[in-house]
């Protein structure tokens, strides 16, 4: 999701902007990132997503978002961002018994 990939094309139409595609499958509870595509606008992006990413009966819902609108963490920040949580296993609720009828845990 670097800035370069998300750049909008100029009026000469060199290239359509990039969109990221999220699809929710029939059994899935959440939308899952499946890939990206190029389109002239949001509406076209949604249709392209339908044409490119749901051809095998995968989805029941699609989100598209302009790649340029995504703010992402940087690999340079990996350690300060994620390393501190690496030794805090007690943050997982694994010390409790979860009743069988609690779904989606």
């Amino acid at each position: 999701m670097s800035g370069q990939a998300g750049e909008r094309s100029d009026a000469s139409g060199a290239q359509w902007p990039l969109y990221e595609v999220f699809v929710r499958s029939k059994r899935g509870l959440n939308h899952v990132h499946v890939g990206s595509l190029r389109a002239a606008d949001e509406r076209m992006a949604l249709r392209h997503a339908r044409d490119v990413y749901t051809r095998r009966n995968e989805g029941v819902s699609i989100w598209v978002v302009a790649a340029a609108d995504i703010t992402a963490s940087s690999p340079d920040e990996k350690d300060p961002f994620f390393a501190p949580s690496g030794d805090k296993v007690y943050r997982h609720p694994t010390f409790y018994d979860i009743p069988d009828d609690v779904p989606h845990m």
Partner: protein, 293 residues
């Protein structure tokens, strides 16, 4: 086209691999394939062939865009539409075979008939020199076919009714795809607008033929099996008007392209480009007539 059931390969057993998708089902499962009583078998076969030929020929024109479309995403979209129409053609050819009662199957109709035995409307076969021409053709064809399929869901033939019910969902999207592009190009730049207008003027002479009633179509409509294309004219005109108005374009005022002594696509009288299309479509099957795939 020779496998029995493509859906067996991908079933709920592959549940873990969600990316495969699930819930595939044969579109004609559970549909009674008995011929309806009192319906002329030869007419039903001929009628099924006409509708199948329309779908197959447009499908072939669309797949010719593979590797030529302006964007990868459009290419996939066009291939999807082509495959939908190919699916309709296959079911209709199978129905024609059942109605005929002989030993001809879908491949025999698609690959081993001559040009003049194809009963598709001429609009379907026109070579598509540019993208604007493609979307103009597609808009007209899908608007017309959608109107036809909607009437056919009430067919006395349960198989045609089921094919129509499935086809409506597909063709609704096809029409929407075409309409979106006609509007984008028509209401786009001066250049795109000019190209779109030129394309519509080139396509429009073939529109009138869509609403001419062939004797087989008339008899099938009277028998409650098919629809009289003449009855679709007003509905289609309304759709064309709406889309072209959004595209800031006008319905072209051009005279219809006449057939030969009143005979056109439905009678097997085609334009020059049909011969090339059929030759390409059938080349592999004719070169290797015993081949299976």
């Amino acid at each position: 086209m020779s496998f029995d059931n493509a859906y067996e390969a991908i079933t709920e057993q592959n549940d873990a691999r969600w990316a495969f998708g699930t819930g595939f089902d044969s579109p004609l499962s559970g549909v009674d394939s008995e011929l309806p009583e009192g319906v002329d078998r030869a007419d039903l076969a001929a009628y099924s062939l006409m509708l199948a030929d329309d779908a197959l020929v447009v499908s072939h024109r669309l797949q010719q865009w593979c590797t030529h479309a302006p964007e990868l995403e459009e290419e996939v979209a066009l291939a999807n539409i082509a495959l939908d129409l190919l699916g309709q053609a296959r079911m209709l050819y199978s129905r024609a075979g059942q109605a005929e009662g002989g030993d001809r199957a879908e491949d025999d109709y698609a690959y081993f008939r001559t040009e003049s035995e194809f009963g598709n409307v001429r609009l379907a076969e026109l070579a598509q020199p540019d993208f604007a021409f493609l979307v103009a053709t597609l808009l007209v064809f899908t608007t017309w076919r959608l109107a036809l399929l909607q009437r056919m869901t009430g067919s006395r033939d349960p198989v045609l009714a089921a094919i129509a019910a499935k086809g409506i969902k597909e063709v609704t999207y096809h029409r929407d795809y075409a309409a979106q592009w006609v509007v984008r190009l028509g209401d786009g730049t001066d250049y795109s607008r000019q190209r779109m207008r030129d394309a519509l003027e080139a396509v429009w002479p073939y529109v009138d033929e869509l609403f001419a009633t062939h004797p087989v179509e008339r008899r099938m409509a009277e028998a409650g099996v098919g629809a009289d294309p003449a009855s679709l004219r007003d509905e289609c005109a309304a759709v064309f008007g709406t889309v072209l108005e959004s595209a800031t374009l006008e319905v072209p005022q051009v005279s219809p392209r006449a057939g030969v002594a009143g005979r056109a696509g439905r009678h097997g009288v085609h334009t020059e480009s049909m011969g090339y299309l059929v030759a390409e479509l059938q080349s592999v099957a004719r070169a290797y007539p015993e081949a299976t795939w």
